[in-house]
Symmetry: C2
């Protein structure tokens, strides 16, 4: 029997053979080393997939995984799941995390994870119900957007399982963008929750897997119920008292950050040309709360088991932009807003709804539109390519139209759907792509947050704020306030964040709990649920193992190493032109050596000794075979 928290079962969905089989989770020692979610996904990928695989070929796999804390009543903010695959946008190993209600429901249906392999000839979806799984035809769903797919699956299963039961079905699906193999296509669950980055939607599209629908009534067990209750109460209590989780996030959602980040002069504006967006306030969380929130619907949108409830449900009612839906989140209002110079909250929200319906990552979408706008501004794009559309800073109409075009590869959208780097390369200006490892950078200009810059540069999945959220320390002062312009000690901080977050992404709980409590509480939750005795040291060591394994996968994929641990030239060479971060660039050279030393890495790669220390001898052997291992 699997440890507490786990359901003990994995589904292996072989699309080439049209078979789905149940298999047990790996043995307990493997689980304790990798936990679940991101860690388990990385483990399976390294064990089963050639890192050199073409991400859109049948030989790639995509793993949908929960962790031991997912869906455990009493673990705050554990309504999560993640997708792990080799990503088409980046060629890196890649995990994308999502909230909502799908993750817990997968466990209630009896499974910890689904391993998706091969490729189907015809569109299919997977239906998982109370311990049973079935591959079903999805011809009629292919082409449908994420909302329509969700509704259609519930409707077609209602006659089989009853209307009420069907209403509880949770659907994870791709939209047209994934079908059309957009490298910025995401997976959408619960209509508005995204495993957003890297193009996981395209991986599903390449496999002709439209959706996974789940419904179940089982519950994960808790090994030590006596201590668990106390830990649970304490955890919720802290969350309910901490300012960020008790006030800021519930009231204003993630976009509470807009004004804060802008006031620090690090809100990337017009494709990172500056860090100050004059009219940022117009797209802030405060404005969202005042102007477009539907508080009643918002309650329904809250992630499973979350006492924070940062989710938004909004409605825009004045033409030319009307609509409603989940979001927009902070990263979204930044990407579709400041990055494109657009301060029209309605236009931003509308494009956000469409991204969710069509299955596009809002960060990559908005970011890439901003890239196009700078390419157009600099005269790199022939006018006829745009068919008269005004592609210029601040034109909200362009956000909406380019979102449609990207999802369906219509006109210039065909090029946008490949992401910012390939777009900029096509027009001969790769230096205008603000990417790391091919992934578009998110909503913080690192020139004013040095540690965050190092986090970007060393992010295994590509430019990302969620591998190590140094903003927490450098701007919000959690767990302590660091000098954001200083480089000293940042290597150590980044490593600590990266490792902790890798563990958290494997539990899985929401990173927002770290605004309230630390790894001690999390380790105690994990211990109580599983029955293990996980110390803070072991907790962080799990993350370190994952981080090293990921880097090894990348090394095997494309020779990842120090030459990829870098940032776009603009951020290294062009001083911030104005505002509170004026004059700064990212001093990466000052931080990387410390980071490598902390990691025990040489030239951006794990050494044999480090891998051995982490119990990754078998990974070291893989690197050695390819001459990628430093002693």
């Amino acid at each position: 029997m699997a440890p507490g928290g786990y359901m003990g079962n994995v589904l292996r969905l072989n699309l080439t053979e049209g078979k789905v089989i149940k298999e047990p989770l790996p043995p307990e020692d493997v689980l304790r080393a990798w936990l679940g979610g991101r860690g388990l996904g990385v483990y399976y990928m390294l064990k089963e997939v050639d890192p050199k695989v073409d991400p859109l070929s049948p030989a790639n796999k995509a793993i949908v995984a929960t962790g031991p804390l997912t869906g455990v009543t009493g673990v705050p903010s554990s309504g999560r799941w993640c997708s792990v695959t080799k990503a088409p946008l980046t060629n890196t190993i890649h995990d994308a995390q999502s909230g909502g209600k799908f993750g817990p429901e997968l466990k209630f249906a009896g499974f910890d994870a689904v391993i998706i392999e091969g490729a189907s000839e015809k569109p299919v979806y997977l239906w998982i119900h109370d311990g049973e799984a079935e591959i079903r035809d999805a011809k009629h769903l292919w082409g449908k957007d994420t909302h329509a797919t969700t509704e259609a699956i519930r409707e077609e299963l209602a006659p089989e399982i009853g209307v009420e039961e069907a209403e509880g079905i949770k659907v994870l699906t791709i939209g047209p963008a994934g079908e059309n193999l957009s490298k910025i296509a995401c997976l959408i669950n619960d209509k508005a929750r995204a495993a957003g980055r890297g193009g996981h939607g395209a991986v599903w599209g390449s496999k002709k897997l439209k959706a996974i629908a789940v419904r179940g009534h089982m519950t994960p067990s808790v090994a030590r119920e006596d201590v668990f209750e106390e830990i649970s109460e304490k955890s919720v209590d802290i969350i309910k008292k901490a300012p960020v989780t008790a006030q800021a996030l519930p009231k204003y959602g993630t976009a509470v950050l807009v004004n804060i980040i802008n006031q620090h002069g690090v809100l990337p504006t017009r494709n990172f040309q500056t860090g100050v967006f004059q009219t940022a306030e117009r797209i802030s969380g405060e404005r969202i709360a005042e102007e477009i929130m539907d508080w009643k619907k918002q309650e329904e949108e809250t992630c499973w088991g979350c006492p924070i409830s940062c989710a938004r449900y909004t409605r825009i009612e004045k033409p030319p932009f009307t609509g409603e839906g989940g979001g927009p989140e902070y990263e979204t209002v930044w990407a579709l807003g400041a990055q494109t110079g657009t301060d029209d909250l309605a236009a931003v929200s509308k494009a956000n709804y469409l991204c969710n319906e069509l299955g596009l990552d809002t960060i990559s979408m908005g970011h890439t539109i901003g890239t196009l706008m700078e390419l157009v501004e600099k005269g790199k794009v022939p006018q006829e390519k745009l068919r008269g559309l005004k592609v210029s800073w601040g034109n909200g109409e362009a956000l909406v139209e380019l979102t449609w075009r990207t999802a369906y590869r219509s006109g210039i959208g065909d090029e946008l759907s490949e992401g910012a780097l390939r777009l900029a390369q096509r027009y001969g200006a790769p230096e205008l792509a603000m990417v790391v490892r091919g992934q578009e950078l998110p909503a913080y200009d690192p020139r004013g947050v040095q540690g965050h810059g190092l986090a970007y540069a060393t992010s295994n999945r590509g430019g990302c704020h969620l591998r190590a959220y140094l903003i927490s320390a450098e701007v919000l002062g959690i767990p302590e306030l660091l000098d954001r312009f200083s480089t000293a000690g940042k290597g150590k901080w980044v490593k600590r964040f990266q490792d902790s977050f890798a563990t958290i992404d494997s539990l899985i709980v929401c990173k927002f709990v770290t605004f309230a409590y630390g790894n001690d509480i999390l380790a105690s939750q994990l211990s109580a649920v599983t029955g293990w005795d996980v110390s803070v040291e072991e907790f962080e060591r799990i993350g370190e193992r994952i981080y090293n394994a990921e880097r090894a996968f990348n090394a095997l994929s494309f020779g990842d190493g120090e030459e990829h641990d870098t940032l776009p030239k603009r951020l290294l060479k062009e001083p911030m032109p104005e505002g509170p971060s004026k004059g700064h660039v990212v001093k990466l050279n000052e931080m990387l050596p410390e980071y490598y030393a902390e990691r025990g890495w040489v030239k951006g790669r794990p050494t044999k000794a480090k891998l051995k220390e982490l119990g990754l001898d078998w990974v070291a052997e893989m690197l050695e075979r390819e001459n990628l291992l430093y002693a």
Copy 2:
């Protein structure tokens, strides 16, 4: 050898077998009976297709045809071609006519027509070049819009035939709407010319035929060059002097009609709730000319060999609606404008560009949006269906968004893509569908133009202004001004118009020449080119033959007859509420008996005697076998 004007060759494209073969045109007596274009298409359909066929099944055929005058230098406005098929929107036999440059080029490439039969498993396109034809893979084109398809074909053929030669390729293609089997999907040639109505695009989509590309250097011969020159000069001379063809159309395009029709109180507004659109002037041809015309590009847009040049090329430059392209035409500004209560020329133009790119019929698209708006107004559509989009009279944003959604069957667009009748039926209000034989009515409220109402009701292809344009007589006074509120004699007029237009659609020339000259000139053009001696009587008799054959096809398809020769209840029972046509309804009962008498029809169907008289004994036999023939 074929008569003058003809190339003598037909291509038979069998998509099931993946073969294309050349065959001769039918014998001269058949050609003289059916001419080309619409007539020839109807002939082939009756000879080769079971009228009961499912329009989207491989057993349906689609015929692309030119006529003996198409592409003959010196015949004004002969740059035309047409598509004939059994239409999915209506289940009628259906021809859709189009201008531009494709039709002549097909002849220059050596062919009068293409008969498309069967269905391919994979997307293909047909490439016709100087007498040779080849089926080519179109996997890479599937999903592309009409502009991108056109450009991609030119690009991929350039290495084979040279860049300059490739630039001259004319492409006829479907957009995503046709691929997605929208019943209002059209065929688009030369990027902005549409064989619009009835859903021909879906027929191609069902056959996985993406496009036909043509290029050639042959020219049709003229039998009697001596007289031809004189006739040609005379024809052009009359066109250059007639007010409509010399002034109104070149200056203001077809949308010159907006103010005229509105001033007569017959501009259907808000789904035919009234015939007066208060702010119609804002979407008029005069405004188009003043505000958004690109006169330089317009020259390039002119149809092959046309001295009228009514084509528009426009550009809108102020957000939230920016773009450029061909059109909008009168029927388009009506459908997307007055029919939806929208007086925003930019929004209307933008939706028009998108219809052309995505391959949607602008009339059916705008009309159906208007239908949805009334359904919403009347509370028939659950709000959640609209996802927050404000679907209400005058919201230009809705035009644009619903066009996107329709082409891709996204959200409510899935239902819009089936056309107005099926949409209204779905929401339990079929009486709100302003259709005849399932086809959405165009831009004239028949309550103030009685003869035009009869023309709608008796239109073989479904609600249409182009089978018999009584507006010409009842409003413009061409060839003579008729009392528009009177029903007397309208049966005879409608029959004359229907027969003449059927011949003209088979020549093929543009109907706009009839604003300048009559059947005498057209018959003399036809005689000079072919070498026949076609009298005006014979000329009109050809059209009568076609019209009867079409009605016979429809009778065999769905029992067409008098119960289908009708109009929506609103137009028969609800008096026009205001304006210059106030108080009127269509008095169809007063006109139908005269019409049937003129036609020699009984209960809406050709009799044996009439068919015999027209040389259609074989059609009579088909009807007889199905017990559909009245003595």
